[in-house]
Protein backbone atom coordinates (compact mmCIF):
# COMPACT_ATOMS: atom_id res chain seq x y z
CA UNK A 1 0.00 0.00 0.00
CA UNK A 2 1.30 3.43 -0.95
CA UNK A 3 2.15 5.89 1.79
CA UNK A 4 -0.43 8.70 2.20
CA UNK A 5 2.05 11.32 0.97
CA UNK A 6 2.84 9.27 -2.14
CA UNK A 7 -0.87 8.84 -2.86
CA UNK A 8 -1.48 12.56 -2.49
CA UNK A 9 1.47 13.37 -4.73
CA UNK A 10 0.32 10.91 -7.37
CA UNK A 11 -3.18 12.40 -7.36
CA UNK A 12 -1.77 15.89 -7.74
CA UNK A 13 0.41 14.74 -10.62
CA UNK A 14 -2.59 13.14 -12.33
CA UNK A 15 -4.63 16.33 -11.97
CA UNK A 16 -1.79 18.40 -13.37
CA UNK A 17 -1.39 16.06 -16.32
CA UNK A 18 -5.14 16.16 -17.02
CA UNK A 19 -5.00 19.92 -17.11
CA UNK A 20 -1.98 19.83 -19.37
CA UNK A 21 -3.86 17.58 -21.79
CA UNK A 22 -6.60 20.18 -21.84
CA UNK A 23 -4.00 22.84 -22.59
CA UNK A 24 -2.62 20.83 -25.48
CA UNK A 25 -6.13 20.45 -26.92
CA UNK A 26 -6.70 24.17 -26.48
CA UNK A 27 -3.49 24.97 -28.34
CA UNK A 28 -4.25 22.50 -31.13
CA UNK A 29 -7.35 24.53 -31.93
CA UNK A 30 -5.15 27.57 -32.68
CA UNK A 31 -4.26 26.22 -36.09
CA UNK A 32 -2.62 29.40 -37.35
CA UNK A 33 -0.37 29.60 -34.35
CA UNK A 34 0.18 31.65 -31.22
CA UNK A 35 2.20 34.61 -29.98
CA UNK A 36 3.18 34.30 -26.32
CA UNK A 37 3.98 37.40 -24.28
CA UNK A 38 7.20 36.03 -22.85
CA UNK A 39 9.04 37.17 -19.72
CA UNK A 40 11.10 34.08 -18.98
CA UNK A 41 9.13 33.61 -15.78
CA UNK A 42 7.54 30.39 -14.53
CA UNK A 43 4.24 30.69 -16.41
CA UNK A 44 5.17 32.10 -19.81
CA UNK A 45 8.17 29.77 -20.08
CA UNK A 46 6.01 26.74 -19.52
CA UNK A 47 3.33 28.00 -21.90
CA UNK A 48 5.82 28.76 -24.66
CA UNK A 49 7.44 25.37 -24.21
CA UNK A 50 4.16 23.45 -24.45
CA UNK A 51 3.09 25.58 -27.41
CA UNK A 52 6.23 24.64 -29.32
CA UNK A 53 5.76 20.96 -28.44
CA UNK A 54 2.15 21.11 -29.61
CA UNK A 55 2.25 23.39 -32.65
CA UNK A 56 5.87 23.22 -33.73
CA UNK A 57 8.36 26.05 -34.00
CA UNK A 58 6.80 27.45 -37.17
CA UNK A 59 3.55 28.34 -35.45
CA UNK A 60 4.86 29.79 -32.19
CA UNK A 61 6.48 33.12 -31.49
CA UNK A 62 7.52 34.28 -28.02
CA UNK A 63 8.01 38.02 -27.68
CA UNK A 64 9.85 39.75 -24.86
CA UNK A 65 8.89 43.33 -24.00
CA UNK A 66 12.01 45.13 -22.79
CA UNK A 67 12.04 48.24 -20.65
CA UNK A 68 13.64 49.66 -17.52
CA UNK A 69 11.14 47.78 -15.38
CA UNK A 70 12.30 44.41 -16.74
CA UNK A 71 15.40 43.16 -14.88
CA UNK A 72 18.47 42.39 -16.97
CA UNK A 73 18.91 39.08 -15.16
CA UNK A 74 15.37 38.12 -16.12
CA UNK A 75 16.04 38.99 -19.75
CA UNK A 76 19.15 36.81 -19.75
CA UNK A 77 17.18 33.93 -18.21
CA UNK A 78 14.44 34.31 -20.83
CA UNK A 79 16.92 34.22 -23.71
CA UNK A 80 18.58 31.13 -22.24
CA UNK A 81 15.26 29.30 -21.94
CA UNK A 82 14.28 30.24 -25.49
CA UNK A 83 17.62 28.98 -26.82
CA UNK A 84 17.63 25.80 -24.79
CA UNK A 85 14.04 24.79 -25.53
CA UNK A 86 13.93 25.87 -29.16
CA UNK A 87 11.39 28.63 -28.64
CA UNK A 88 11.37 31.20 -31.48
CA UNK A 89 11.87 34.50 -29.72
CA UNK A 90 11.83 38.17 -30.66
CA UNK A 91 12.06 41.34 -28.62
CA UNK A 92 10.31 44.68 -28.68
CA UNK A 93 11.06 47.78 -26.64
CA UNK A 94 8.21 49.07 -24.53
CA UNK A 95 8.06 52.57 -23.12
CA UNK A 96 5.57 52.50 -20.28
CA UNK A 97 7.65 54.97 -18.27
CA UNK A 98 6.79 57.66 -20.80
CA UNK A 99 3.12 57.25 -19.92
CA UNK A 100 2.29 59.67 -17.05
CA UNK A 101 -0.53 57.39 -15.94
CA UNK A 102 1.96 54.57 -15.41
CA UNK A 103 4.74 56.71 -13.98
CA UNK A 104 2.42 58.14 -11.32
CA UNK A 105 2.23 54.57 -9.95
CA UNK A 106 -1.46 54.26 -9.11
CA UNK A 107 -2.80 51.00 -7.70
CA UNK A 108 -3.79 49.98 -11.25
CA UNK A 109 -0.29 50.69 -12.60
CA UNK A 110 -0.14 47.22 -14.15
CA UNK A 111 -3.02 48.14 -16.44
CA UNK A 112 -0.98 50.90 -18.09
CA UNK A 113 2.08 48.66 -18.38
CA UNK A 114 0.13 45.84 -20.00
CA UNK A 115 -1.72 48.27 -22.24
CA UNK A 116 1.64 49.41 -23.58
CA UNK A 117 2.93 45.85 -23.93
CA UNK A 118 -0.10 44.54 -25.80
CA UNK A 119 -0.21 47.64 -28.02
CA UNK A 120 3.23 46.54 -29.26
CA UNK A 121 2.50 42.83 -29.51
CA UNK A 122 -0.99 42.90 -31.00
CA UNK A 123 0.14 44.30 -34.38
CA UNK A 124 2.78 41.57 -34.64
CA UNK A 125 0.19 38.89 -33.88
CA UNK A 126 -2.33 40.42 -36.30
CA UNK A 127 0.20 40.64 -39.12
CA UNK A 128 1.04 36.96 -38.75
CA UNK A 129 -2.43 35.67 -37.94
CA UNK A 130 -1.40 34.50 -34.47
CA UNK A 131 -3.57 34.29 -31.35
CA UNK A 132 -2.15 36.49 -28.60
CA UNK A 133 -1.52 34.66 -25.31
CA UNK A 134 -0.33 35.53 -21.84
CA UNK A 135 0.83 33.39 -18.94
CA UNK A 136 -1.96 34.19 -16.49
CA UNK A 137 -2.65 31.06 -14.43
CA UNK A 138 -5.73 29.92 -12.50
CA UNK A 139 -4.40 31.24 -9.18
CA UNK A 140 -3.96 34.71 -10.64
CA UNK A 141 -7.69 35.05 -11.22
CA UNK A 142 -8.29 35.59 -7.50
CA UNK A 143 -5.46 38.13 -7.13
CA UNK A 144 -5.38 41.91 -7.61
CA UNK A 145 -4.52 41.96 -11.34
CA UNK A 146 -5.51 45.23 -13.04
CA UNK A 147 -3.26 44.28 -15.98
CA UNK A 148 -5.79 41.64 -17.00
CA UNK A 149 -8.16 44.39 -18.15
CA UNK A 150 -5.61 45.56 -20.73
CA UNK A 151 -5.32 42.00 -22.00
CA UNK A 152 -9.05 41.71 -22.48
CA UNK A 153 -9.07 44.97 -24.44
CA UNK A 154 -6.71 43.34 -26.93
CA UNK A 155 -8.38 39.91 -26.97
CA UNK A 156 -5.42 38.33 -25.23
CA UNK A 157 -6.21 34.77 -24.21
CA UNK A 158 -4.97 33.10 -21.03
CA UNK A 159 -5.02 29.37 -21.74
CA UNK A 160 -3.28 28.34 -18.51
CA UNK A 161 -6.09 29.92 -16.53
CA UNK A 162 -8.76 28.74 -18.95
CA UNK A 163 -7.85 25.07 -18.43
CA UNK A 164 -7.41 25.51 -14.67
CA UNK A 165 -3.63 25.18 -14.43
CA UNK A 166 -2.44 26.52 -11.07
CA UNK A 167 1.04 27.70 -10.17
CA UNK A 168 1.68 24.39 -8.41
CA UNK A 169 0.61 22.48 -11.54
CA UNK A 170 2.87 24.61 -13.70
CA UNK A 171 5.88 24.14 -11.44
CA UNK A 172 5.27 20.38 -11.33
CA UNK A 173 4.91 20.10 -15.11
CA UNK A 174 7.86 22.41 -15.69
CA UNK A 175 10.01 20.12 -13.56
CA UNK A 176 9.02 17.15 -15.72
CA UNK A 177 10.33 19.06 -18.76
CA UNK A 178 13.54 20.15 -17.08
CA UNK A 179 12.58 23.81 -17.27
CA UNK A 180 14.84 25.77 -14.90
CA UNK A 181 11.87 27.90 -13.93
CA UNK A 182 10.24 24.96 -12.11
CA UNK A 183 11.68 26.05 -8.78
CA UNK A 184 12.48 29.64 -9.63
CA UNK A 185 11.09 32.42 -7.46
CA UNK A 186 8.27 34.38 -9.02
CA UNK A 187 9.56 37.42 -10.87
CA UNK A 188 7.28 40.42 -11.16
CA UNK A 189 8.57 43.63 -12.72
CA UNK A 190 10.79 46.00 -10.77
CA UNK A 191 8.05 48.59 -10.44
CA UNK A 192 6.30 46.21 -8.03
CA UNK A 193 8.91 47.23 -5.43
CA UNK A 194 7.68 50.83 -5.34
CA UNK A 195 4.72 51.64 -3.08
CA UNK A 196 1.74 53.00 -4.96
CA UNK A 197 2.03 56.74 -5.31
CA UNK A 198 5.83 56.69 -5.47
CA UNK A 199 6.54 57.69 -9.04
CA UNK A 200 8.23 55.10 -11.23
CA UNK A 201 11.53 56.41 -12.55
CA UNK A 202 14.43 54.78 -14.32
CA UNK A 203 16.67 55.75 -11.39
CA UNK A 204 14.47 54.10 -8.76
CA UNK A 205 14.09 50.93 -10.80
CA UNK A 206 17.85 50.77 -11.30
CA UNK A 207 18.41 51.31 -7.57
CA UNK A 208 16.17 48.36 -6.73
CA UNK A 209 17.75 46.18 -9.41
CA UNK A 210 21.27 46.97 -8.14
CA UNK A 211 20.28 46.19 -4.56
CA UNK A 212 18.64 42.86 -5.42
CA UNK A 213 21.58 41.87 -7.62
CA UNK A 214 23.96 42.72 -4.79
CA UNK A 215 21.96 40.60 -2.36
CA UNK A 216 21.98 37.66 -4.76
CA UNK A 217 25.73 38.10 -5.11
CA UNK A 218 26.26 37.75 -1.34
CA UNK A 219 24.11 34.63 -1.20
CA UNK A 220 20.48 35.55 -0.56
CA UNK A 221 18.39 32.77 -2.09
CA UNK A 222 14.72 32.26 -2.86
CA UNK A 223 12.06 34.93 -3.08
CA UNK A 224 13.52 38.37 -2.55
CA UNK A 225 12.22 41.90 -2.89
CA UNK A 226 13.86 45.20 -2.06
CA UNK A 227 10.95 47.51 -1.38
CA UNK A 228 11.66 51.16 -2.05
CA UNK A 229 10.54 53.53 0.72
CA UNK A 230 12.45 56.66 -0.27
CA UNK A 231 15.83 56.59 1.43
CA UNK A 232 14.90 53.32 3.17
CA UNK A 233 15.16 49.91 1.55
CA UNK A 234 12.97 47.27 3.18
CA UNK A 235 14.27 43.83 2.33
CA UNK A 236 11.80 40.97 2.15
CA UNK A 237 13.27 37.48 1.95
CA UNK A 238 12.06 33.97 2.72
CA UNK A 239 11.19 33.65 6.40
CA UNK A 240 13.49 30.62 6.61
CA UNK A 241 16.40 32.82 5.51
CA UNK A 242 15.95 35.57 8.08
CA UNK A 243 17.84 33.92 10.95
CA UNK A 244 20.92 33.55 8.82
CA UNK A 245 20.90 37.22 7.82
CA UNK A 246 20.26 38.55 11.31
CA UNK A 247 23.62 37.20 12.41
CA UNK A 248 25.74 40.31 13.17
CA UNK A 249 28.35 39.62 10.50
CA UNK A 250 25.79 38.66 7.86
CA UNK A 251 23.52 41.60 8.62
CA UNK A 252 26.44 43.99 8.18
CA UNK A 253 27.19 42.45 4.77
CA UNK A 254 23.54 42.71 3.80
CA UNK A 255 23.23 46.34 4.88
CA UNK A 256 26.48 47.28 3.14
CA UNK A 257 25.37 45.64 -0.10
CA UNK A 258 22.10 47.55 -0.12
CA UNK A 259 23.66 50.87 0.89
CA UNK A 260 26.15 50.58 -1.94
CA UNK A 261 23.18 50.27 -4.28
CA UNK A 262 22.11 53.76 -3.27
CA UNK A 263 19.91 53.49 -0.18
CA UNK A 264 20.78 55.47 2.93
CA UNK A 265 18.91 53.13 5.30
CA UNK A 266 18.28 49.38 5.24
CA UNK A 267 15.69 47.38 7.16
CA UNK A 268 14.91 43.68 7.14
CA UNK A 269 11.22 42.80 7.13
CA UNK A 270 10.59 40.55 10.13
CA UNK A 271 7.66 38.70 8.61
CA UNK A 272 9.57 37.83 5.47
CA UNK A 273 8.58 37.75 1.85
CA UNK A 274 4.93 38.24 0.99
CA UNK A 275 3.71 38.31 -2.57
CA UNK A 276 1.71 41.50 -3.06
CA UNK A 277 3.10 42.98 0.14
CA UNK A 278 2.70 46.51 -1.14
CA UNK A 279 -0.94 45.83 -1.96
CA UNK A 280 -1.40 45.10 1.74
CA UNK A 281 0.55 48.21 2.70
CA UNK A 282 -1.68 50.31 0.46
CA UNK A 283 -4.82 48.66 1.76
CA UNK A 284 -5.68 47.34 -1.72
CA UNK A 285 -5.95 43.84 -0.26
CA UNK A 286 -6.26 42.62 3.31
CA UNK A 287 -3.16 41.65 5.27
Amino acid sequence: MAAPHATTTAAADATSLDRERALVEWLRDRTRGVLVGFSGGVDSSYLACVAVETLGRDRVLAVIGRSASYPAAQWAAAREIADRFGIPCEEVDTNELADPSYAANPSNRCYFCKRELWSRLAPIADARGLTLLDGTNADDLSDHRPGAVAGRERDVRSPLAEVGLTKADIRRLSALRGLPTAAAPSSPCLASRLPYGTSVTVERLAQVERAESALRAIGVVGDLRVRHHGDLARVEMLAAEIDRWLDPVASTRLATAVREAGFARVALDLRGFRSGSLNVLAGVVAG
Binding site: L246, A267, R271, V280, L281
Partner: protein, 66 residues
Amino acid sequence: VSSPVERRAALASALAALGVPADVDADGPLAVLRPRDAAPSLDAATRAAVVDAARRCGFTHVALEL
Protein backbone atom coordinates in the same frame (compact mmCIF):
# COMPACT_ATOMS: atom_id res chain seq x y z
CA VAL B 1 -4.72 52.50 19.71
CA SER B 2 -5.61 55.09 17.08
CA SER B 3 -3.25 57.97 16.40
CA PRO B 4 0.16 57.36 14.79
CA VAL B 5 1.94 58.61 17.90
CA GLU B 6 -0.09 56.32 20.14
CA ARG B 7 0.54 53.34 17.86
CA ARG B 8 4.30 53.95 17.86
CA ALA B 9 4.36 54.34 21.63
CA ALA B 10 2.25 51.22 22.11
CA LEU B 11 4.56 49.18 19.93
CA ALA B 12 7.69 50.51 21.63
CA SER B 13 6.18 49.51 24.94
CA ALA B 14 5.28 46.04 23.67
CA LEU B 15 8.81 45.61 22.31
CA ALA B 16 10.33 46.53 25.65
CA ALA B 17 8.13 43.90 27.31
CA LEU B 18 9.44 41.35 24.80
CA GLY B 19 13.03 42.26 25.67
CA VAL B 20 13.64 44.05 22.37
CA PRO B 21 14.22 47.68 23.30
CA ALA B 22 13.83 49.75 20.15
CA ASP B 23 12.64 53.10 18.92
CA VAL B 24 9.81 52.94 16.41
CA ASP B 25 9.53 54.95 13.23
CA ALA B 26 6.29 54.71 11.34
CA ASP B 27 5.32 55.32 7.75
CA GLY B 28 1.60 54.63 7.66
CA PRO B 29 1.14 50.90 8.35
CA LEU B 30 4.90 50.24 8.19
CA ALA B 31 6.83 50.19 11.46
CA VAL B 32 10.61 50.44 11.32
CA LEU B 33 12.39 49.39 14.50
CA ARG B 34 15.65 51.06 15.42
CA PRO B 35 17.13 48.80 18.12
CA ARG B 36 18.85 50.40 21.06
CA ASP B 37 21.16 47.39 21.38
CA ALA B 38 23.68 46.89 18.62
CA ALA B 39 22.62 43.33 17.93
CA PRO B 40 19.25 42.39 19.44
CA SER B 41 18.51 38.71 19.81
CA LEU B 42 15.62 37.97 17.47
CA ASP B 43 15.04 34.27 17.16
CA ALA B 44 12.04 32.99 15.24
CA ALA B 45 9.76 32.96 18.28
CA THR B 46 10.68 36.52 19.25
CA ARG B 47 10.23 37.71 15.67
CA ALA B 48 6.78 36.16 15.60
CA ALA B 49 5.93 37.90 18.85
CA VAL B 50 7.18 41.23 17.47
CA VAL B 51 5.12 40.80 14.29
CA ASP B 52 2.08 39.97 16.38
CA ALA B 53 2.61 42.98 18.63
CA ALA B 54 2.97 45.22 15.60
CA ARG B 55 -0.25 43.87 14.14
CA ARG B 56 -2.10 44.55 17.39
CA CYS B 57 -0.79 48.12 17.24
CA GLY B 58 -2.15 48.56 13.72
CA PHE B 59 0.97 47.90 11.65
CA THR B 60 0.72 45.50 8.71
CA HIS B 61 4.50 45.55 8.18
CA VAL B 62 7.40 45.63 10.62
CA ALA B 63 11.05 45.79 9.73
CA LEU B 64 14.28 45.94 11.72
CA GLU B 65 16.71 48.64 10.67
CA LEU B 66 20.22 47.25 10.21
